[in-house]
Structure formats: C-alpha cells, structure tokens
Homo-oligomer: 437 residues x 4
C-alpha cells in the first residue's frame, strides 16, 4: 500500500509485483522524467516514469477487480473476464514503459534506439532482474508479458487494458500530468469510466449510459495535447536537445581521439551505435545533464553553447508557418546565417504531429482502436456516431508547424552584435503575432 | 504568470524576478530535489527546490499585497508596512535556498559545506548571474537581500516573512510536500492565515480571531515531521548516502592516483576540501547518481555495494532504541561484524533530532520565534498560552533514536551465507516490534 | 469575509453589500433551492439561491479588482474600466436573482408570475428593505441597479459582467452546481478566465492567449446542461409539480368555498392571480412542501396522489420520441387512460428546450452574446471561428423530446390492477431502450 | 450508483436498501437540514440528513467490504467478520437518523420529543413504509436493526460500525460538514482509516501502523467542534428558535381559542403533547418556517419579533462569562429589562456542553468508547497512551459559557429608543473583547 497523490493509494497484492518494483531496472525509472522537456515549461511536472508506471499498474488492478466482480467468465469463450489473466495484465501494466531512456523521443531519434524493442529485451533477456522475477512465475511468463505490450497476446481484453484508446496508460498519464502541471483540463471521472468498462469477445467496451464520461475523457485528452504536450517552448527545448546530442555525436565520433578527463564515457557506445542492454540501462536524465555540465566548458563553441541553452533553459523562439508561408524559410535561414548562427544547429522546423499523438479516429486502419458503446440490448455503437462532441474532434486536429530560431534574432543582445544591422529588422518584418507572414 | 499546482498561478510582476529565475544558478535548482531521500519513500514527491522557491516567492508576494492593502505605513516607524520593502522581500524569498546542493544535509555533513554561506556567496559574488541581476537594482542590493536571509536586515517584518515560525518558506513546503506526497496532513488554510497576518513594530503578528487557522498550521507541521520528514526509511537511505560519500572520499583522497576514465572529476575539489563557488554550482542530484552508476562497477566492494543499495533503493533496516537499550548496540554490532559486514559502513544510529526540526517552543532562546496573537485592543498573547492543542505539542516532541543495520541480518539471503548460523537467530532475539529489547 | 466552499472566501468590502445581505428579501433566498427538482436527482445539490447570489457577487468583485488593476480608465470613453462603476455592478450581481420564487420555472408557468419583473419591483419598490438600502446610496441608485439586470444600463461592461455568455452568474452556477452535485464536468479554470477578461468599448473581451480556458468553459457548460440540468428525472419531477399546482389552482379557485383548517392561504392570491409583492415574498420552498403535506390528506384523489408523488419522489417514467414517432402519442395516452389515469395530470411531453438553455450561438440575433477574443494587436475574433471544439457545439445541440407517463404502465402494481390486462403489454411494445418506437 | 460529492459514488447493492431510500419516511429527511442553525452561519452547509444518511450507509458498506476481504470469519466466535451481518449493519447505518425532526435538538428540548425513541418506532411500527420493507426481510429484522441503533445488538462489531468513537456516522458528518462549509479542518484520511480498521472479539480496533490517521481524525473532530458546531452565532440562532417555539406553545396552548386561518395546525399535537408518529412525520424544516412566516403578522409582538429575527437572521449577541463573572448576569438582565426587552425571551445562557459533544475520553464510564490500537503481536493499546496529540485533547476541552442578549444593547437603533439613555453605556462597560468583565 503505497501512498499516491493521484490514486490516493496503490495496492500491491502480489509478491511478484513487489519484486518487480524492487528490481534495478524498475528503480531506474525514478531517474527518468515522465514529461521530458515539458517539465521545463510546467515546473510542477517533475514526476518520473516510475510514478506513472505504478499508476498504470493500479488502474489495471482496479479494472481487473471490476471485471472479476461484475463480469466473471463462466465458460471458456463466453467473452467475459477470466481472472487467471490478472497477473499477466498487472505485470504488463507495470512494465510497459521500462524500456524508456532519458528524453526518449529525442534520444531515440538521434541514436536510433527503440524503447519498445528494449522493453521486450528487458523482459526476456535472462541477464535482467526483471526477467528473473518474471521467470520465477513460469518459464514462458516473460514472453507472455512482453507479448501483451507488443499487442500480440491472444486475449484482446488484456491487450486493450494496456493499449487502446482508453487504456490504463493514457488514463494514468492524463490524470497525473494534469495533477503535477496543475492544469484542470486533464481531469475526467476515472471511477465512472472504470465502472462502465466491460469485457466482450473482441476486447473492452463501455456501457452506453457511461457515454458522457467517455466523451469527457476524449475532450480532456484533446485539451492536454493542445495545451501541455504540444507546448511550443517544450518543443523548442527538444529541438535544442536534439541538436546538442547530434553535435556531441559528431565531435566524439572518433573514439581514438583523446577526449580528456570529462569525456562522456557512458555515451560512447551510442555515439558508435554499438550498445548493449547494460549500456542502455546505465543512462538516465542525470547522466545526460552531467555530461552537459561538462560540455559547458568544451572548446567546441556550439557544443558549449547548446549545453548552456539546455541546462539554463534558454529556448529558441518559434513562429507558425503554413504551406503557403513555408517558402519564406530559406530567406529567414539566410538572415540567421548572416547574424552568425550555424543554421544546422540553431534552426529547425517541426509540427505537432512529430509527437505520438493519437487523436481518436475510427477511420484509421487499426479498427481495434475504436471506442464501442454497448447498448442495453448488447448492440455496439461507435462513440463518434452518437457524441457530437467527439465527432467534432475526430480526425480533425491539425496541430501547427513551427520554425524555430534563436531568440537573438528578435532580441539582439547589446555588446555582442550590431543592433542596427538591418538583418534583424528584415527578419522581424516576416513575423506577426507569432506567425510567419 | 506561471501555472503552479499548489498556488494555482505564480504572478511575476517585476522584471528583476523574471531575470533571477532565468539565471543559471536558479535554473540549477530544477535539478535538486526538494525532499532528497524522502522521494524514495513517497514516490510522488519528486519536486525540486526550483518549484518550492517559486512558491515561497508567491506567498511572500501575497503577504506584501495584503500588508499594502490593509496595513500601509503612513509615517516612518508606525509599525505598519512600507511597500518599498517589497522588492528586497521578494528577492530574498525567491533566493533563500539558492545555495542548496544535492542532498544537502548529508552532503554538507560529509564535505563540510555550508549552504547558508554559499547562498550568501551566490548573492554577493560578482561572478554569478544572480549577483549581476541584483546589482542592477542598486550597488548594495545584493548585500541587502543576503542580510534578509541571514536575519540581520533591520526590518523584522521582512525577515519574519522569510524565516520565522510561520513564514513563506515553511508554509510553501508544507503545502507542496503534502501535495506531492499525497498526504492530507500538511494542508492548512493558507488564505485565512495570510488574511490574519499583520505587521507590527517587532515583526509579524496574527489577529486573534485567526487563532484556529494558526493552530491548525502548527498541528499540520507536527504531523508532517512525524510522518514524512522523519520517516525511518528515508533516514535509512540518508545513512547509506552518507556512508557512500564517505567511502568515496576515502578512496579518491589521493588525487595523484590514476582513477581511470570514469573518475568523479566534479567531486575532486570536495574530496580535497578545496572547492570554489564554480565547482559547487556544477553539482546537482544527477551528478551524484551518475557517479554512483560509475561506482557500481568499482573494484572496491563497499563502494560498489553501497552505490547499488542507493541507486536500487535497498534501505537498511532499523530499530528503535532507548537510553536503556542503548547498551545492546555493541553486541548487535559485533554480530553484524561476524556476519561479514564492515560496521563502519553498514550500521549507524541517528535520531530524528538530527534533522532540522523546529518544533514551536516559546521557551527557546530566540524570542523572535514566538507566535504572537493580537487581540482587538492591540494586546499580544503568545499562542501556546491560549491554544490547548499547541500547548500540548510545544517543546514536548521527543522523536526516536534508531539503529540502522543490514536487512540481511533478519532476512539472510540463501546462497550467500549459512542461514543456520546462530548469529542471525541471536540478533533477532534482541528485536521486537521494531524495537531493540 | 464569509467562508465559501467554491470561492474559499467571499470578501465583503462595502457596508451597502452587508446591509443588502441582511435584508429580509435577501435572507429569503436561503429558503429557495438553486436547482429546484434537480436536487431530487443529485442529492448533494441542496444549495440555495442565497449561496449562489453571494458567489456571483464575489466573482464580480474579482472582475472589478482585475479591471481596476490592469485596465484602469484614464480618460472618459477610452474603453477601459472606470472603477466608479464598481458599486452598481456589485449590487446588481448580488441581487440579480432576488425575484426568484420557489421552483421558479414551474411556478411562473402555472401562475404567470415573472421573476425578472419581480426582481425589478423588489429593487425599486419603496416598501422593501432592499430598496431602502439602495436608496441610501443615491435617489436613482435602485433604478440604476435594476437597469443593469434588465440590460439597459448604458455601460456594456457592467451589463456583460452580470449577463453575457461568460458572466459572473453562469460561472458561479456552473462551478457551484458541479461542486454540490459532485460532478467534475462543470469545472473550468476561473482564475485564468478572470485573468484574460478585459474591458473594451463594446463590453468585455478575452485575451487571445486565454482561448483554451474559454473553450473549456464552453465545453463544461455544454456538459452540465446535458447531464445535470436536462436530466430526465428532474424534468419528470417538474412535470409532477406543474400538474400538482394546476390541480390545486383548479380546486381552490373558488375562494368562497370553505376550505377548512389546512387551506393554502398563502397561495390564494396566486390562485386568483391577485397577488402583490408582499404575498410573493412570503413564499419559499418550504411553504409549498408544507401545503403538499396538507394535501396528502385531501379528499381529492389526484391532488393527494400528486402531492405524495412529489414529496416522496415518485417520478413519472419517460421515453424519447421524435417527429416520426410523435404520432404514437395519442395511442399511448389512450392506453394510459384505460389503465385508469387521468392523462391531463399523469402524462406530459417536454423537450429540453423548455429549459433556459443558451447554447453559444454567434448567429443568434443578439450580437452582444458573442465571445470575442482580442489578439495582441487589438483585433477581435469571434471564438467559434478559431476553436474547433466550440465550433462543433455552436448552435448544434438538439436536446431530446420526452413523453412522461406513470411508472405503473411498465411496472403495474399487484393488488391494484389486473396485471394481465393486455394494455400493459400493448403499451410496452411501443418502447425500446427508453425510446418510443 | 448515486453520485455523491463526498464519497464520489454511493453504491446500492441490495434491493432492500433501494426500497428503504424510496420510503416516505426516508424521503422526508430531504427536508431536514443536517446542521440546523449552523447553516445560517456557514452558508454552503445547506445539506440535509438525507444526504448524510446515504453517506453513513456508504462508509458502512466499505467497512463491510474491507472486513469481508481481509478478516473473514472462519469459525463462529473467532472474532472475525461474519458477512451475514452485512444487511443488518447497512440498514442500521442508513436509518440511524430517521427519527430526527426539524431542528432536532431545540425541538426536542421544547416539546419533549425523543428522536431515538422515534427512530425505533419508525423501524418497528407496522404502519410505516420503513417497517414494511424491513419486515419483508424477516419477521424480527426490524427489531434487529433497531437494536443495532440502540446498541443492544449482540455483535459489538456491528454496533461499533454505527456508534463508537470512530464510526461511520461521525466519519461521514465530519467529512460532509467540512465539504459543505468549505472548511479544511474536518478532512482526514478516510481510506487509510478504513484500511486499518479491523474486527476483533470486543468490537473494532485499528492496526497500530494506522495510528497517525486515527490521531488526525481525532484532531479534526476537535477542530470541527470548536469552529463549526460550537459557533456562537449558530448557538444564538438556536436560542432564538427555542424561545420562539416556547412562545408559540404558550400562545397556542388553548386549542379551543379561535386561531384563525393561519394557525399552526400541524404543531397543535405538540403544543398539547399528544402527538403520534404520523403527526411527527408531517413536520420538516419547511413546516416550521412556513408557520414562522405566518407568525410574522401575529398580534403578539414577541412571537412576531422572534419570527422575524429567526427568518431574517438577526442573531442575538453574546459574551463569554466565567464562574467568576457569572454574578454579573442579574445586573445585565435588569439593564436589558429596562431597555424594554422581556428577558425571558431575549436573553439566555448556554455553554458548548449543551451540545452533544463527545470529546474522546477513555476515562469515561463507557469503556467501549475507547480507541484501541492493535500491535503486530495482537496486543491492544489505548490511543491516548501512545499519541501525545490525542493525550493533549483527551478530557480537557472545557468549551465556553455564553450569555446571549439583544444586539440593540450595544447598537441601539436610532428612532426607537433614547440613544443617550445611560443603560446602554452601563451595559457596555461590563463587556470587553466579547467577555463579561
């Protein structure tokens, strides 16, 4: 029974779960922030993947309890809940994020790592403590748990608990991120949703009378993406981080070169793309920031400056561009170049689609992700066909595309540059109300 | 206007405050946890000193607003609030913790650093960004702000806002730690307390009709200390951390010895007690845990094992002892030694007084720390003389003394040791219900 | 300073406001429930119009404070806030509902009263305590306050504080009704909305960067209407109440007839439609339920039965019908008649439009009700043109039409009737999943 | 599944419970406020005994669930929980307050009614709907449920769920009253307390490791009594109510006298102390206030004035007196008499002990009310012997004694009286800081 600010308490009822929490692979998650660079925008959101993973476990436990009480399977294949599935569901819930590394999305992008493959490896590789705990349950148990996370487990109810449009993962992170950022948008009625969830042959459906609670969850998720996860400053800090790691990779690519005392030894395997699981598990947020602290004093001015910008939170500025105004980017880049910045490291574009947003869209190719409401007579209807609110959001979100550039282009710093150089004025003429015009 | 989970929003109304937040010294606080090892017990409590410092600022801002609205000074020396003091109060509030390093209490103890002296240095040393921002306000301003934190500033109202029995610092950390741990004990009615606070000649008093709100704050503080700050597992992890740093200091004391690639270069100045401000400011929680990750592979078995115990959260066990049962400790230590543990590194004692607990005690020598209630006719009465609840707590808390020892003494691990060695049985006979008997 | 569960505290800063609260007309609001029959569905929602009125006052006070701090008028006609308008705004906010009687909507419908006209009368009629307090401010002050409520006051900023798409009235009742019902749908970020509100020439606009908070408010309102205010059981209890009062009016229409000891003397003026203000102010929820308790024993079986159904909460059942299935109603009514019920008193239809729903629709004829966002350059854009969420809701809500009938038609009570009478079976064949088919 | 603001949802799992809620006796509780006159001080606290009764039911249900899961009885007499007791516990929880009438404490005092006896009567008298529902469970079931409420039921676990120092009744009202008043004092960790509650042979104990949660509950209760339940203005309104009913009883004592149209027919049985259960069940808060509205126009000036003071909330003022200053009361009364007030109706004294406060005192004669903590080895220790906080409160609270008098004595109203009459000045000389001196 662990105290938790979101779920009040987290109830541990199996020895296996306790042992998994106590593995070094799971404890490592304490050192990896859940929200990455978004914590640099929402200062309360310093919680980690450790905390979130416990929450996903707890929601899954509650789902199992509800299913067991209200929908216990009587005969195999009746589409109801077989409580012997509980342990595999709970383990998958707890471990679903265990392969994440520091600042996952950016790190993966630069070093071609794959947190899903690593998750599977941590579960199934006999060298890990996690594997040892799982193996004690049964020889195939590690693979079973991994297959739930990989969505290949035969029982769709178990798979959908952990990954579907309304799963324990999303429900926990929305509530938790809302709690720690202090926003109110992410809240929805978890109790009610759990109450109207029900197993059926093809997975999990929701009783029709719970439609409003489901609707509210979808709207909350939409708002959290728009306001927290896609925040321009958070995306800007990710741009800096990516460029910083790219620069480091370039500089340290020659392992033979003497790199001196403060070399980033733990990153070398990644610079050379020759890492194993053990190398990966040594990394956490603190490892990266410790190297960045070293690099502040690097003789490479770009590495040093980008380290400073990341550690001291000096975001790039950004402006929205459209397919129409995109043509202006080369001109803007040339002005930035003239102002003395290497545009490879000091500009970038991204759109909010780069992030793993999964707006609810029943027209997508994976039909399992639909949210099905079950009417009193057992008939299923897809949510967006009965909810005007959800229908309004479905498949329509377009996000924004942004061009990132140094703040100095609009606030040139006296002393360093000629404030009256016409390039600044020229640059600013192309911006209006945070848009490129 | 920053969103904050505890105060809803934090309002920044001066350019100086914004500039201070943007200094590298202040941003560093994002990488230092507020609760240190307690976050290993209360998993939600991963918030940092950065977040807390903003909260102290915000409460101070609200106090100033209330004082300005309701008790504006008309003539010098009338004991009311002179709003020209606002900026020095706000800066002191924001910066009061800026000298803290990683796991401050333990770190200070091992390396004889002093976070208060370092705070003063960060404010007044011309090399820091903080000093530059403050100096721009006025040549003496850095020293003024430092003197508020050092309690030597002439206006006691300003000093007491930041440090007294009911100050912005304590009020923020109680509310914030309660919020992030998910406990309910730390909550009290901040709005009401701010409303009944009032300036007078000797500092800050409280209107008599707010007694219950003040009483509730005192009780909340008492409960938070008993349940969060003095938690035995948190203290146990501090013991491990202290021994780990001591061991490292011992091993790395000879700087000439070749320490190989992964040596803790950033800690060398501290091992040799020859550090300057810049050395200090390079450290954060991540630096320490990164070195611990290196040390896991150390050839020194104690350094390696303690690193593992800290990173993977393997607390020592503990038992309460009294002045009577204290005599048993040598015997217990000798059994632990026999079981193969170096007792210098694997046992310890501490009592909850080691922590900076400041139970409200009007009989202490610093009379300023009394809480004074002001009756309608201006008369002052000390809180514990009118509140039976506070009176009950005042000066009576005794805490507990604990002996820490390896978990293996009560749960010997099969494979490593002879489970039937009589020393384990012998050891356990001296324990009952977490007490040494 | 009154403690309030929604706003924490309500600050009274003018003697006039305190005096208005202490009038008998305002105290009467303590005896009139805010939500009428909805409190019979959401049992926590037993709060009154008194409490809500204080909340509207408090929000208005906060708006005035924000406007005064951030947008103080410098010269007449500059479109900013003139704080001399504060008192008239506060009084209008506090008194905007003072003309409400018990179960207003139903009562008005049956007795042709008009709470808006009565509000104006209470403010301007020299016999009331409210008028006396207002008149003490200035001879025209009562009329000024009344004109704010009637939307004829010249300053549109003051009018829109109290009545517009996002006014103090709606913001308080959404938050308060959500709090007391225990739903989470009604919550939105009041602090943020107040912060982005700003005066301009034509009234009140919102800074563009607050769009998401405004959007969330609109969605919350939509959800509260769908789930709380339009709840079918609440509407069913209103149907019973209306029929009960109609029956009483019929029975007691002859004042000469001897009605015995327990006659509803306080209602006679309304039965005869010859009431004055004093008659009206004697009524409250308790008056009605006291008469209903008397009428339980009435010799008129319909009056007695409907009194019982209302007091003991025996709602009629209901089913949705459409323009297509509407043709079935005569048949259903005839079956109900056959089962022994007077269909005039035991059936009804209504749709959720009967309730004062004000879905945000910028295409409506009253252009003032648009929500305008102000961009950084002062340009105004209407909310639904930039928010896909709001656009989705705008003017599209259609509600439902329901037919109400006695529960006995689907659950005939043994003993009273012939359970095997084919009319029950026949009736039920036309219903499926709460719809008429 | 009913939505509840305090417990989120209330789960109805037995048909009997639903049927009990639907009885007219239980629905009547919707019209009786939980806090009586305290709602005139804390305006949000307008909730009723209906709502509270549902909450007590829900907490009891959760206790039963916990007991069943964690402490199921294996053999008769093993001191664990026999789940066949569930239904009697739930019914007793739901119905424990069903005998309450309007403003119970005052009403009982004036009319010598006894809500406990009436509760028993409602349960066991065959004329009530409640009795009919209970009897359907078993012929002795009504008596069994009644005996739980009367504490004579043989199983002490069931009795203590409903009435003991930490029972479902107190836990619900503290949380609920705190929620609706908006105070924070009444909150405590219900989940944790339920988790550490456990059955044993002599009733219910608490696991030792839950001590802090129990302690916090005791402190919260203490604070709620001091700040909400003993509030002087609430007690003052009770004084007015008592005098008003006394006066009415006097005036209407002669039933033969013609009392005109607006006579309080429903109260006659009580004026003559010849009432039966049916008479009692016709009364609610609204009945009384409706008569008070009638009496406003009474020709008896005291009845009329007290009705006005109660309905329009014009509390008497009060001052604290001690055993020393008690001697001043005759003098003060004579001055009040001189000022034209009938002191029998316009003055009173009471102390906070008049209210049913049950400060936790293990020295009281009823040993069952002790709170026992169970150590790991099964040993029981009484709470105040191990908690310094609880020890501080135990049996030490003394409350205050107050003298109530007309506000006009300190704020004489111009026009009515001679403001310069020396009696006012004389009267005020005996008061200082709300104390009689």
């Amino acid at each position: 029974m662990l105290r938790d600010p979101v779920h009040n308490y987290i109830y541990i009822q199996h020895r296996v779960i306790l042992d998994l929490i106590n593995t070094k692979e799971f404890q490592r998650l304490r050192r990896i922030k859940q929200l990455g660079t978004a914590s640099l925008v929402f200062h309360g959101a310093e919680h980690t993947r450790f905390t979130h993973s416990l929450g996903v476990y707890e929601i899954t436990r509650q789902i199992c309890d509800n299913f067991k009480r209200n929908y216990p399977s009587q005969t195999a294949g009746d589409g109801l809940w077989d409580d012997r599935e509980r342990l595999v569901a709970l383990c998958a819930a707890l471990l679903h994020d265990i392969g994440h590394g520091p600042y996952s999305h950016t790190f993966e992008h630069i070093f071609q790592t794959d947190h899903e493959a690593i998750t599977a490896a941590i579960l199934t590789n006999p060298t890990t403590e996690v594997n040892q705990v799982l193996r004690a349950v049964g020889p195939n148990f590690p693979e079973q748990v991994a297959s739930v996370i990989q969505k290949t487990y035969p029982n769709p109810q178990v798979v959908q608990m952990i990954s579907s449009q309304i799963d324990a993962d999303r429900m926990d992170y929305l509530l938790r991120d809302a709690y720690h950022t202090g926003t109110k948008y992410g809240t929805f009625d978890l109790t009610r949703i759990l109450r109207v969830m029900r197993p059926y042959h093809d997975g999990i459906a929701f009783n029709f009378n719970g439609m409003h609670a489901v609707e509210d969850y979808i709207v909350s998720r939409f708002q959290m993406y728009q306001q927290i996860y896609f925040h321009p400053v958070s995306r800007s800090m990710e741009v800096i981080l990516g460029h910083l790691l790219t620069r480091a990779k370039e500089i340290y690519s020659d392992p033979e070169a003497a790199h001196g005392a403060a070399a980033p030894y733990l990153l070398f395997p990644f610079f050379q793309h020759q890492f194993d699981l053990e190398d990966y598990l040594l990394l956490d947020d603190g490892t990266l920031t410790t190297y960045f602290a070293h690099w502040r004093q690097s003789s490479d001015p770009i590495l040093s400056d980008l380290s400073h910008r990341f550690l001291d939170r000096k975001p790039l500025k950004s402006a929205v561009f459209t397919d129409q105004t995109k043509a202006k980017l080369p001109l803007l880049r040339s002005l930035i170049e003239k102002a003395g910045f290497n545009t490879q490291y000091y500009t970038d574009t991204n759109n909010s689609y780069d992030l793993p947003y999964d707006a609810y869209d029943p027209k997508m190719k994976k039909p399992l992700t639909q949210i099905e409401l079950m009417e009193r007579d057992g008939n299923l209807v897809e949510l967006s066909t009965v909810s005007s609110l959800v229908n309004a959001i479905t498949g329509k979100f377009t996000g924004d595309q942004r061009f990132f550039f140094p703040r100095e282009m609009i606030h040139p710093e006296p002393g360093n540059v000629d404030l009256f150089d016409p390039i600044y004025n020229q640059f600013q003429q192309h911006l209006h109300n945070d848009n490129i015009i």
